[in-house]
């Protein structure tokens, strides 16, 4: 809590010191806007009672134009991208009355989880200026299939299904109002990590848009780690599978044997 406050205060000072430095140079208008971010924690622990976590990202805009700021022409998008892996999407079809996986497509290196928060609704044409979100957001994640594609027309169906399922499963999330300005140039973004968040290195990315155009971006890694017993179990299961299997069997033998002693009918 204290470190979060300290970070917050230090961020508060950033625009002030920058502003102070610019005045003697007299070129405030030509200096490009910048972006600084900090995260409330750089490691999230998955414990035995893990039910998801909230991540707060603090950030500050530097050299912001006061007029554009006043009319809300700056937009911030913050994303949290999970570790990447291949993903297989399968499609069921009815064969002899039974629903069977018949078709599948493998997408290369897509994030296992993805949360996005923004200052306003993305992909909403009624809001002006439109944000040119190329490469940012769930709709713009590149989903490249590998291998032979039988029917190109199916590709968009599979992509659409992938996004829909990931959103439904909670691993992909979008929060239109997740980013709030706490002062003219200081903002705070809240991102939710679901209970089934994959462990590994996640990346927090913040994007600054001016009048809908991407100006700059920043990124910070965030580690999601299993801790204590959970970590030990996963490590052993994957690194020493034989010993792990033996342990599982031993526990079962002892439990069964113990029960026959405890409940012995004499």
């Amino acid at each position: 809590m204290f470190s979060r406050l300290a970070l917050f205060l230090s961020l508060l000072l950033i625009p002030a010191t920058h502003g102070f430095a610019q005045i003697p140079m007299g070129e405030a208008s030509s200096v490009k806007e910048g972006l600084d971010i900090g995260v409330s924690t750089n490691e999230i622990a998955i414990t035995s009672d893990f039910r998801g976590a909230d991540l707060t990202v603090f950030g500050a805009m530097t050299n912001a134009d006061d007029l554009l700021l006043a009319i809300g022409n700056y937009d911030i998008i913050v994303t949290l991208e999970g570790p990447r892996d291949y993903a297989t999407v399968r499609k069921k079809e009815r064969i002899f009355g039974i629903w069977i996986n018949t078709d599948s497509m493998i997408f290369e290196q897509v994030p296992e989880s993805y949360s996005i928060a923004s200052t306003r609704q993305l992909d909403d044409p009624t809001q002006l200026p439109p944000i040119n979100t190329a490469g940012v957001g769930i709709e713009h994640l590149s989903l490249n299939p590998i291998g032979y594609i039988r029917d190109v027309g199916e590709l968009s169906d599979f992509r659409e299904a992938y996004r829909r399922l990931k959103l439904a499963g909670g691993l992909y999330q979008k929060e239109a109002s997740g980013v709030r300005f706490v002062s003219s140039s200081l903002f705070r973004a809240s991102l939710r990590l679901p209970a089934n968040v994959p462990d590994g290195v996640h990346i927090v990315r913040a994007y600054l848009f001016k009048s809908g155009t991407l100006l700059t971006q920043r990124e910070i890694p965030l580690r999601v780690v299993k801790t204590g017993l959970e970590q030990a179990i996963t490590d052993t299961a994957h690194n020493q599978p034989f010993a792990y299997g033996l342990l599982c069997v031993l526990i079962a033998l002892v439990t069964g044997w113990g029960a026959s002693i405890v409940f012995r009918k004499d």
Binding site: K92, W99, C248, V249, L253, A259
Partner: protein, 320 residues
């Protein structure tokens, strides 16, 4: 087991399963284990054929459900086998011959399991196998127990099973003498039976007692008193072996899930045994038949109704 205490002492009752990689309500898992344990004690079955489908209904990935189910069966068969060993109703020699086939079958089964997983048909195959076996056995058991109940009502003596009667099985070569069971039987059908059950153990996560026991009684004509103990003896080793192989090839045994199920299961079984002793044999079998049928039908419905989403996503792609 420190982490369990943490989960319980906090305001939450969820527990994170490290291999299944999801959080579950600990009381639901405990309840499942206790309920299946109770039924297994009551009916004298291992309970694997109920645990695995229940875990799948509770959204545990089938891969984990099957491997963990096999692990849980180890615990429930050990206590049963010890009881039979004390009573002298366990034929070690017969069990060992069964086991030879069982270990080979379990190895083949894990290959099939890994292959099905790779081609994306594992879930379907597990469900199909369950539906076919559970409905077949459920119907057969129900018929048999209803017939027995009707006869009991008419005060007719039940036809005794004749272990001495011979059929084609007894004309096979490679005969062995099994002293405890007092039979002289070819090793071929015994090994074959063990082999087939072994395959089922690794694909379905069951001990296979619910198939092995009738097969031993009706097909191999092994005396009924040694059948249950001997099948439990071989189930311990085949499920233990399957647990090891699943752990080594699919990394899918969840020790936390298995432990909760085991503890709840062995306690539930003690109460089940007491209730089971008060009920009559044919009523008990009719109840079990209905239960088996219900699980089978529930799984069958899942195969035939249109899924909510025709698509599904799995992490990984190549050679997983």
């Amino acid at each position: 087991m420190r982490s369990f205490c943490f989960a319980l002492s906090g305001s939450t009752v969820t527990i994170y399963l490290p291999i299944a990689e999801l959080s579950v309500n600990i009381f639901i898992i405990l309840g499942m284990g206790a309920a299946v344990g109770f039924l297994s004690g009551m009916f004298g079955v291992g309970g694997g054929f109920l645990i695995t489908p229940l875990l799948i209904f509770y959204n545990i990935p089938p891969v984990v459900a099957v491997a963990t189910g096999a692990n849980q069966v180890v615990a429930s068969s050990v206590s049963g086998a010890i009881t039979h060993f004390r009573r002298g109703t366990l034929d070690m020699k017969l069990g060992t011959v069964l086991l030879v086939g069982g270990l080979v079958g379990a190895t083949v089964g894990v290959w099939i399991f890994s292959w099905l997983r790779r081609v994306g048909q594992l879930d379907l195959f597990i469900s199909l196998l369950y539906v076919v076996l559970l409905t077949t056995i459920g119907v057969l058991m129900l018929q048999e127990s209803l017939r027995a109940m009707r006869k009991a009502k008419l005060n007719q003596p039940l036809p005794l099973k004749r272990p001495g009667q011979h059929n084609w099985v007894h004309r096979l070569p490679l005969k062995m003498r099994f002293k405890k069971s007092k039979i002289y039987l070819s090793a071929i059908p015994v090994v074959t039976l063990g082999f087939l059950i072994g395959i089922l153990t690794s694909i379905m996560g069951v001990g296979g007692g619910f198939i092995m026991v009738p097969a031993m009684i009706y097909l191999l004509r092994i005396p009924t008193n040694v059948v249950v103990g001997t099948s439990l003896f071989q189930i311990i080793f085949v499920t233990a072996y399957t647990t090891m192989v699943q752990a080594a090839t699919n990394y899918s045994v969840d020790i936390v899930l298995a432990f909760i199920l085991m503890v709840a299961g062995v306690i539930g079984a003690q109460y089940g045994v007491r209730v089971g002793q008060k009920l009559r044999g044919e009523q008990l079998r009719a109840l079990l038949a209905l239960l088996v049928l219900a699980v089978g039908i529930r799984l069958a419905v899942g195969l035939f109704i249109r899924p909510q989403d025709l698509y599904s996503v799995a992490v990984g792609g190549i050679g997983y």
